[in-house]
């Protein structure tokens, strides 16, 4: 299990380091964090299998299970303060708590329009939408993701969503 724990610590450290890097323009971070998580998983499995010893596959699986679970839990906690509207509402309400109308002021600060603006910026940055003269159109890549989204929603039997 030790190599899996070491790999997780390396992943967490690199992610936090990456978070502190200055950014000149808006760039979604989660895809990069996911790529790092998976790259380190491959490196871990290869390293454990290559270091010799009996039964390399079970040893690689044992370490991967540890690393993947800890890494996934870390990403879950990491992504919440960045993307969750519910968390933003709670944090904003706490900061405005001394005001008598904290709830209404929070709704203004975290309005649906502002939230939509943030999401649109992220979708444009990922090449899923393009903006021209105030209209957003889907790119071929975005259309593929939309088709996948509709199909998976049907398989999972989830609602309209959002």
């Amino acid at each position: 299990m030790a190599p899996g724990l070491v790999a997780f610590l390396a992943f967490a450290s690199l992610t936090l380091l990456y978070s502190q890097l200055p950014r000149e323009r808006y760039q979604p971070r989660i895809p990069h964090v996911l790529a790092l998580w998976l790259a380190l998983a491959v490196a871990l499995a290869a390293t454990v299998a290559a270091t010799g010893g009996p039964r390399p596959v079970p040893r690689a699986v044992t370490n991967l299970a540890t690393y993947l679970f800890l890494g996934e839990a870390f990403i879950f906690v990491y992504a919440l303060p960045i993307g969750s509207l519910s968390i933003r509402l709670l944090v904003s309400m706490r900061e405005l708590e001394s005001e008598p109308d904290a709830f209404r002021r929070t709704l203004r600060a975290c309005s649906p329009d502002r939230f939509l603006g943030v999401r649109l910026r992220s979708l444009v940055a990922q090449g899923l939408l393009v903006e021209r003269e105030g209209r957003y159109r889907i790119t071929p890549r975005g259309r593929r993701w939309a088709h996948v989204g509709v199909a998976v929603k049907r398989v999972l039997a989830v609602g309209a969503g959002g």
Binding site: I82, M93, R94, D101, F103, A146, A160
Partner: protein
């Protein structure tokens, strides 16, 4: 590795059961039911480890680690699968970005932000999404009614403080 094999078996069994229930039953609190299925799968792994692990070991071969480490590794493997499924499910159930993509893909002319806000989630609108989030926060005891709408509960205040700290750590304003 037998712990991981058993964990995968438990997860697959309960994942298929959850999928079948989602299609066959009208479920009100979907998130709660999903978490219930995953908790039951975790319980099945813990109970099953003691009684079934020897049979699994006969299939997967002798363990390369001690029984305690094997059990914990299986638990980690199960946690990875269960948390992954919960996150994957939530992504397709709740993701605002995916909903925007689906709505925009449906219109060849593209959409303005105002049109997106109105058409969001098959015409429910962005206000509906906001109301849903607030209803969830009220339902989970984070917000309580007050004379000025809602105020934070004691638990929510702690959660907000923790996440404000995390926002600083991850560099999110």
């Amino acid at each position: 590795m037998s712990g991981v094999v058993l964990a995968v078996l438990c997860f697959v069994l309960f994942f298929l059961a959850h999928l079948a229930a989602s299609h066959l039953l009208r479920i009100g609190r979907k998130e709660g039911v999903l978490l219930g299925f995953m908790a039951a799968a975790g319980g099945a792994y813990v109970l099953g480890y003691a009684s079934l692990v020897e049979r699994v070991r006969a299939l997967s071969g002798p363990s390369v680690v001690s029984p305690a480490v094997d059990f914990l590794t299986g638990l980690a493997g199960f946690g990875f699968l269960a948390l992954g499924y919960v996150e994957f499910w939530s992504l397709f159930e709740r993701s605002v970005s995916l909903r925007i993509l689906i709505d925009t893909a449906a219109d060849p002319e593209g959409l303005t932000p105002d049109q997106m806000a109105r058409r969001y989630a098959e015409g429910r609108g962005l206000e509906w999404m906001m109301d849903k989030r607030i209803a969830d926060l009220v339902g989970s005891g984070m917000l309580v009614e007050s004379t000025h709408g809602y105020r934070l509960s004691g638990r929510a205040r702690v959660v907000a403080r923790v996440f404000r700290g995390l926002q600083r750590v991850v560099g999110s304003s």
